[in-house]
């Protein structure tokens, strides 16, 4: 491998990127846009949940509890009713998302200094709202030092049947205000790092074939290794730039600071980046045109967004889907990202995940190298 040739290819590749608007936007602007989109718009935060209140106690204490719900940003008292059945009906009709039922003898017990119970009904048809609504309700009531007798889900989508309390505790520990942007933003770093790199790499590799420039190039002494390494170098830089800019903006815009070691995160990030480069190259061995490369990239990227645990918790996935999510490198990288950024844990907690990630990436590289050498014959 001759370094001058490698750098010659790299220089040429940089010119391509600089002169191609789509590549420039994808490399420099798209990461910022994706961060804003996932950070702000795809917020799974639930604010102002419409609440029906059935206050059968009608005492100072019960009104105080209702006020503490009102004062939280999470709930908004939509209607008051005397009849618990009415509250259920309103949930069924979709008028309210949750109902707070305060029993008649609520105040009596409290005055005696005993723990009292209230019931919360939550519309389970939108699981993510239901989960958060239930969590918030428990949180507020606990704050009021009550015992919530039961959180009953109505119209439930089956997935939510497991106790949300356990999840809630884990989240509350590291993200006390339960802001979904805190949870989403570290994930966005992983998705951006992967998606941008995969698409750009696949494009770069396919472009030479589609335009016919490879025919001229293979007649020169440049070896395929020199060519591949030279072409990949710019995308390593772009990946590192994207990684840095997204982390910086996460801090500035969303207040997400890295609690753990930046060094460890960056090291694992680079390993992940290498995997993404290999994936892009693998796609380029199948695709003949840039259009095909785009379609194939989407085929990889969609599962990464949907199955990696970025949007939906993997625990709730059917077994097959869960298995698929396990072979996606981004799934494991998300665990690492959230672990280091939100929880500040070190390698002693992450070594298992890191090992799986490394193994997956080595497998991808092996397949890519095999496909590539076969192709060149």
């Amino acid at each position: 491998m001759n370094l001058k040739r490698v750098l010659t290819v790299t220089k040429k590749e940089f010119i391509h990127i600089r002169r191609d608007k789509a590549s420039m936007i994808l490399a420099l602007v798209a990461p910022v846009m994706m961060l804003l989109l996932f950070g702000f718009a795809v917020s799974t935060d639930v604010n102002d949940i419409r609440l029906a209140v059935c206050d059968q106690s009608n005492t100072m204490e019960s009104r105080e509890l209702i006020r503490s719900y009102e004062n939280s940003a999470y709930f908004k008292v939509y209607t008051m009713t005397d009849n618990p059945q009415n509250a259920e009906k309103m949930i069924a009709a979709g008028n309210v998302k949750a109902a707070l039922l305060i029993p008649t003898d609520f105040a009596k017990g409290l005055r005696r200094g005993e723990k009292e119970e209230v019931q919360i009904l939550v519309d389970g048809s939108d699981p993510s709202i239901a989960r958060t609504a239930a969590n918030y309700a428990v949180m507020i009531s606990n704050g009021y030092s009550l015992k919530v007798s039961s959180v009953k889900l109505m119209n439930t989508a089956a997935a939510l049947n497991k106790s949300p309390g356990v999840d809630a505790r884990a989240m509350i520990m590291y993200n006390p205000t339960l802001e979904s942007s805190k949870f989403n933003v570290p994930g966005v770093v992983g998705l951006i790092l992967q998606n941008i790199t995969v698409i750009l790499t696949a494009f770069a590799m396919v472009r030479e074939r589609e335009k016919g420039t490879i025919e001229q190039l293979i007649m020169t002494p440049v070896s395929s290794l020199e060519l591949i390494v030279g072409k990949l170098i710019p995308y390593v830089f772009i990946g590192i730039y994207d990684y840095a800019i997204v982390l910086l903006l996460s801090y500035i815009l969303f207040g997400v600071a890295i609690k753990g070691s930046i060094l460890l995160l960056t090291l694992l990030g680079i390993i992940f980046l290498i995997g993404a480069l290999a994936m892009g190259m693998l796609i380029s061995t199948f695709a003949k045109t840039q259009l095909q490369a785009m379609q194939a990239s989407l085929l990889v990227l969609l599962p990464s967004v949907l199955l990696s645990g970025f949007m939906f918790p993997r625990e709730a996935m059917p077994k097959v889907v869960y298995a698929i999510s396990t072979i996606l490198p981004v799934t494991h990288f998300l665990i690492i990202l959230r672990g280091i950024i939100l929880k500040g844990v070190g390698i002693s907690y992450l070594y298992k995940t890191a090992t799986v990630l490394l193994a997956l990436i080595i497998a991808i590289i092996a397949i890519t190298v095999k496909k590539f050498t076969k192709k060149l014959d």
Binding site: T8, V9, G212, T213, E215, M219, T220, P221
Partner: protein, 260 residues
């Protein structure tokens, strides 16, 4: 006599399909060799074997004294190639394209710049150095491709249909450059479908369905076929070998069209 290309019983099979079948020829240094044949007859495949890009199925050969199997690196370092399809980067400027290829051949900067200046002058691209290759006309693109193929002063220049889609004036300019170059001792291997161009060549090889049908100088071909029109000779070969009905001349086709 020193030969630039010597091949012996060279064959290339793609699966069970034989693209090139046992061809042998020798081309002396400093000559222009025209390689003719209908579409799909195996010209580009032969060229790829000679350039060390694909491995022959059988047979042997040496290009510039380098073995086709063992010394492909040296072959690549010493030949210049220009493809059928414009193979340069349209989003790079004339200068950037030439610099790119110069650096790929590991030329030293001063040597490259000097050579580049010469070539741009010969090719008539002066003033276009900073234009994007994609904005050049068809003829100029071909001349740029020629510059890139010659930047490292190769001993053998391989041109696969260099003038496809180029207007008659630009074609002549192009060929003038080629003949000037051979005066400096470079050997040229060229394929073309333009028979007027082919008559410039010193030696003509005719390939059909992977078989080398004839190897001769134009003069000998003219004598043998009692005509000085290469196109007629080409058509005679094709119709004889394909047992197609004799192909009509354009004039005859036009007349027939009018009669109908």
């Amino acid at each position: 006599m020193e030969f630039a290309i010597e091949i012996n019983n060279l064959s290339k099979k793609f699966g069970s399909f034989t693209a090139v079948n046992n061809i042998s020829f020798s081309i002396p240094k400093g000559k222009i060799f025209g390689f003719l044949g209908p579409n799909g007859s195996g010209k580009s495949t032969t060229i790829r074997m000679l350039c060390g890009v694909i491995t022959p199925t059988s047979g042997e050969g040496r290009v510039l004294g380098f073995d086709l199997y063992k010394n492909t690196e040296q072959i690549k370092q010493n030949i210049g190639y220009m493809s059928q399809r414009f193979g340069l980067y349209e989003d790079l400027t004339v200068n950037e394209n030439i610099d790119f290829y110069g650096s790929i051949y590991l030329l030293a900067k001063e040597e490259m710049n000097e050579r580049k200046k010469q070539l741009i002058e010969i090719a008539g691209l002066v003033g276009k150095e900073k234009s994007l290759a994609g904005t050049l006309s068809g003829g100029m693109k071909q001349k740029l491709a020629l510059c890139c193929a010659l930047i490292h002063q190769p001993q053998l220049l391989v041109l696969d249909e260099p003038t496809a889609g180029v207007d008659p004036v630009s074609r002549r300019e192009f060929w003038k450059v080629i003949t000037q170059l051979t005066a400096t001792g470079i050997t040229v291997l060229v394929t073309t479908h333009y028979m007027d161009e082919a008559s410039i060549c010193d030696i003509i090889g005719f390939i059909y369905n992977g078989d080398l049908i004839t190897m001769n100088t134009p003069e000998e071909l003219f004598e043998k076929h009692h005509t000085d029109n290469l196109e007629d000779i080409f058509i005679e070969y094709v119709s004889k070998l394909s047992s197609k009905d004799a192909v009509l001349s354009f004039k005859e086709i036009r007349q027939q069209g009018k009669e109908v």
